[in-house]
């Protein structure tokens, strides 16, 4: 029986490839890097704990934005095994949609215009929610269209074809958006639906008046930071609930596990896939609006780097895993913020992508990932 005797040889071939003879060199290097990083962090924490905490908070803000994008990557990958590189550009479209809604149509002021009697605060909250909802809807429709036009015809094609198509769609959105009559190639100052205010903590919480100084060695944070934090946690909980407790969630898990069998069980797999794209895009749209409010300058390539970093976050957490994407994104945010503070600003992206390489070398399945049973 030649087949049987072949099998162990193939297996050992795989394991040999996974554990090269000089693995200890790489591992030793990693340990040295980890020790160095720990030393830098601990010594800086001891030197100025308040500044350290401030940097952690800034990293948390970045991480939560990445989390909103990473969820979309991981969900789509979980079901169709496609890395949807256009996801970062859907995020960009979300930011632009809200920009036009606010600057051209004053959508954030509609409650006040229709019902002048209601208090300004409530009007602002309702108006801002409308803007965010509109962006989410636009992104959802865009993602469904992209899925129909660019990915669905390639469902039975080799996976690399869909991947390259995704890159094509991404470039299309960036450079179509850069046309003068679409979004224009300029950096556009973003008009926020509400003003950002900041506070500092010193025996209580005090507001920072724009243009006035806050005391030294205090921790400051802004309202947009709180909104991003709350939004990403809520979205995470919502998706957990959706995937674990609802019928469509069961269908998603079934389609992810085994598409042909799911189809035999009466699940409309195509609709489930469209739904997955839609929900990922909706939260990318939400992330886009919040990102634009926080950083207030938008252009058509604004989605590239956050998109790539969210992708790294999804891989780090274990692509296909929802909690993994969230945890991975938080780690990425911290890595970036602490690199900027304690190593050097230009190193931030280098560190982010070094993490990707290390994860792929050491634990390709990521933190929460299940070991790949089939060839992934």
């Amino acid at each position: 029986m030649p087949e049987k005797s072949d099998l162990p040889a193939a297996m050992s071939g795989i394991s040999r490839r996974r554990r090269p003879p000089l693995a200890w060199v790489g591992n030793g290097f990693l340990i040295i890097v980890a020790v160095l990083a720990a030393y830098v962090l601990v010594s800086n924490l001891a030197k100025n704990p308040i500044e350290f905490l401030q940097n952690v908070l800034d990293g948390l803000k970045l991480g939560c934005v990445y989390a909103l994008i990473a969820l979309g990557y991981t969900m789509v990958y979980g079901i169709v095994k496609l890395i949807n590189f256009a996801h970062g550009d859907v995020f960009m479209v979300g930011a632009f949609t809200s920009f036009y809604a606010v600057s051209q149509f004053n959508l954030h002021q509609w409650p006040q215009m229709l019902f002048p009697a209601i208090p300004a605060g409530i009007s602002l909250v309702v108006g801002s929610f409308t803007v965010i909802l509109l962006s989410m809807v636009v992104c959802t429709l865009l993602a469904i269209t992209i899925e129909r036009v660019a990915y669905k015809p390639l469902r039975d094609a080799p996976r690399i074809a869909a991947l390259i198509t995704a890159i094509g769609v991404s470039f299309f959105l960036e450079f179509f958006g850069a046309l003068q009559f679409v979004f224009s190639p300029r950096f556009i100052p973003y008009k926020s639906p509400f003003d950002t205010t900041a506070w500092y903590i010193q025996g209580g919480i005090h507001p920072i008046v724009s243009g006035q100084s806050s005391p030294d060695n205090t921790i400051s944070f802004s309202n947009i930071f709180l909104i991003i934090l709350v939004a990403s946690v809520l979205v995470q909980l919502f998706l957990q609930f959706l995937v674990r407790r609802t019928k469509i969630g069961v269908a998603m898990r079934a389609a992810s596990f085994d598409k042909p069998t799911a189809r035999l069980m009466g699940i409309n797999v195509d609709r489930v896939i469209s739904f997955t794209f839609a929900i990922g895009a909706a939260f990318a749209g939400l992330g886009g609006v919040l990102y634009a409010i926080a950083y207030a300058s938008i252009w058509t390539q604004l989605g590239i780097l956050p998109g790539l970093k969210a992708f790294v976050a999804a891989v780090l957490g274990g692509i296909g895993s929802l909690p993994g994407a969230f945890v991975g994104a938080l780690i990425m945010g911290q890595a970036e913020s602490l690199t900027m503070s304690y190593i050097s600003t230009p190193m931030r992206d280098a560190v982010a992508f070094t993490i990707l390489i290390i994860v792929l070398l050491v634990k390709p399945t990521g933190i929460f990932g299940e070991p790949a049973g089939e060839k992934a």
Binding site: A198, S214, A296, S297
Partner: protein, 384 residues
Amino acid sequence: MKRFLSLTAIVLVLMVAVIGCQQAPKVLKVAVLAPLSGPVPTFGVSTRDGALLAINEWNAKGGVLNMKITPVVEDSQCTPDPAVNAANKVINQDKVHYIVGEVCSKASIPISEIANAAKVIQISPTSTNTAVTVDKSGATKAYIFRACFIDPFQGKVGATFAFNNLKAKNAFIMFDQSNDYVKGLAEAFEATFTQLGGKIVGKESYDGAKDTDFSAILTKVKGAKPDIVYLPDYYNVVNLATKQAKAKGITAPFMGGDGWDSSDLDTKASDGGYYTNHYSPDDQRAEVQNFLKAYGAAYKDDKNNPKVPDALAALAYDATNLLLTAIKNAGADNTDKVKAAMEGISFDAVSGKITYDAQHNPVKGAVILKVTGGKVTFNSFVAP
């Protein structure tokens, strides 16, 4: 018959043209090479309008050396190839001896090679790259000049203003490591500021094309407590950084260069900031106010209101005036004499009193603008 008639007509027109030329030999041709199409057409229109205004004013006063000045306008597109074609056309076909242009350094540099070889005087109104007037071996191109200051000069002026006028003793520098313009300004600022006795309390770089989050740098700024933060980048980075600085409770004013000069500058976030620029319409010097009046009378906007000239128009106007004054001082339409006259000129231009250094860069002042109350206002004029 029709063909015969039209041929006759053409021949007649040509004859008139030839006779016309013979009868009035005293015409001085000046080429204006401007990017009227391509990526920056608005720059081109301003440049052409500024140059033509100066030529019309000289013609109204009787021209130069009793010669009428005829402009030859060509579109050089802010791109090397069309710029080279335009330069060859005006030099070989139109036989001009003087060129005003181009706007962009990357177009001005190839034009300067051709002009210098043909001993044609070129004066670029706005190209700031040092390679426009200096060749690869470091020698000055004899026939090439410019009307704007070069990049490092802005850093020098910024540092002088911060130290002397704002009484800043400690400065923090933020700069884009991948942008030569920003780096040049930052280095010049640092050198001058320390030379004057100030202290650089921190220096952080970033990548302006990619970075949007400056919180870690700004936390360091907050800790370093500078009197001024020098950020000589373009408006998009300035908008991001100043907004995040305000949210961190940083009150030290930000300062930059002409990259801030944009209608898209977030004046709320950058409130209290300063930047250096070539010219300001709010400057009360007589040269500026007379130029404003003349420009507004000659050019109208869509609503038929007088147009307010931008820095490009002002510099093109200055470049043309400098050239014609040098020709007048030289006393002859001879580029060697005009070149010598240019080198020795001292001229009160809209953008300040201009003299030339050995590398044909103008030695002149800059204006300091302040962002305050949602507007950009003229603060002061700093002599070199």
